[in-house]
Symmetry: C2
Subunit: 314 residues, 2 copies
Amino acid sequence: MPSKQTASTKNSTNKKTQQLYIGIDGGGSKCKAVIMDENNQVLGTGISGPGNPLHGFEQATNSITESALLALTDADLSNVNLTELIAGVGLAGVNLPVLFEQMSNWQHPFKQMFLATDLLIACLGAHQGADGAVMITGTGSCGFSYVDQKSLIIGAHGFPHGDKASGAWFGLQAAKQVLLSLDGLVAQTNMTTKLLTLTNCQDDVALVENIANKPATFYAKFANLVFDAAEEGDEVAKEIIAEGCAYITNVATKLWQQKPARMSMIGGLTTRLVDWLPTEISSKLSTPLSPPEVGAILFAKQQLVHYKSEKIAV
Amino acid sequence: MPSKQTASTKNSTNKKTQQLYIGIDGGGSKCKAVIMDENNQVLGTGISGPGNPLHGFEQATNSITESALLALTDADLSNVNLTELIAGVGLAGVNLPVLFEQMSNWQHPFKQMFLATDLLIACLGAHQGADGAVMITGTGSCGFSYVDQKSLIIGAHGFPHGDKASGAWFGLQAAKQVLLSLDGLVAQTNMTTKLLTLTNCQDDVALVENIANKPATFYAKFANLVFDAAEEGDEVAKEIIAEGCAYITNVATKLWQQKPARMSMIGGLTTRLVDWLPTEISSKLSTPLSPPEVGAILFAKQQLVHYKSEKIAV
């Protein structure tokens, strides 16, 4: 066995002596890659553009390849070919059969590729490869559990029809409420001033011009002002947060029914949201152990064991 | 004075003896034109594609011209040139200064063109040129009053951040509720079956594929099922309608504060909505007298009087 390689001794000395792994987390705004060795030591990381096949196969596959190459460079392993790497790739959207098939048929550059949803790799990452559950609240939202090889997805439906309690949802609630207040239909609150300042708008006409036809990522930028306003005592902001937290409580309750050993909350809105959750929910949350891209490698390694044992069985 | 021309005697006999007017209602999905004579007699109508400059100047101006030419043909007045017509043009979006300026600078084909918002021509149409108020609930929603040359707009903010109680809003509420029910977070109701049937979907994954990234016009098609379900006793559908009606009640109350002589409710959702409104709101609604495109001509004639009196004054 080669000795454990540390981040400070990044080099390609023993690159031929052990198998290297690449983990990919392909999301709607960026694609993250990590290179690890057989002992799960991180050797390098890379970040490229959108890696979600929902927004285009070519862009997704280009981003995956680019992030992998960047991770190799970061690891001082530029002389290693992608064909030498075993890849675990977690992508949003591949829960849809058509996208799973399209990505599976990709003439990928790796030695082997194991494909999973972004949710599964996030869950495996959070629990270091063990069974568990995650609630994800970033731009979008969803709940996911993986117990005894059975997965349950709650939400992950997208914006504006789903993704309740996500950053985009909080931002949209703020925009709706502020527009009603500018029409004089409800009282103006802290959120009104905050949103007009943030968007540099004077009135509802300017605000509508600013927010019309914008995607979830745009609205997600307004999420923090709801929490800022609530912390200053804004009752309307508190009501919005209460509605979001009631939804998350429902999701968590449903996930616990699957009897996961651990549950983590991840995503960009977690730190703002967690303090507003009921104690019976927040107190049972565990710190995520690794990020999704590491989860992708853990997935690949698990599949590889399965794959090898199947080969032996045959 | 020429005798009053009836629809059954459409011809161009006296086309040179009196001024003809064209009224345009340019909306997001279609552009409606009507030709009238000096005595407000309808001579012909035409319908073309989207006439809303929010979705493109060239398309809007092409649609306006096309609908006008179709109306001339319909009136058996193909030998009349657009340059002979005085036009009243009401367009969504021209409440935004940048679009008003762009449309005003259009090298239009008419003898004269008077430009107004779609809201003002709808209001003038509903009240036959007199002051009044309208609540519009179609794909979008808004309230508008025009009293003593002062206008008030409530809403008209667009989807999904505004347009509460509109067709798109009702449809989105249905989609949200059905997705929650398919996740088992709330009980399934009549709406669940109705929406899955309407979209020909088996489950939430198929439904999300069906509704993702769709515009307001798409969601508006789901509005009727909320009312159908409510009429069958669906409590959740009733709650959605109650929330929409509470909003419309607020808008109506604010509009009545402007002291309009009459208030009408117009738009495709009116017949479904009006029965669910509180009696104190619905009983005070008046039947609209003419459609918006006729209101556009009434607007042009009013402006013309103003214009001529200004000329005399100078």
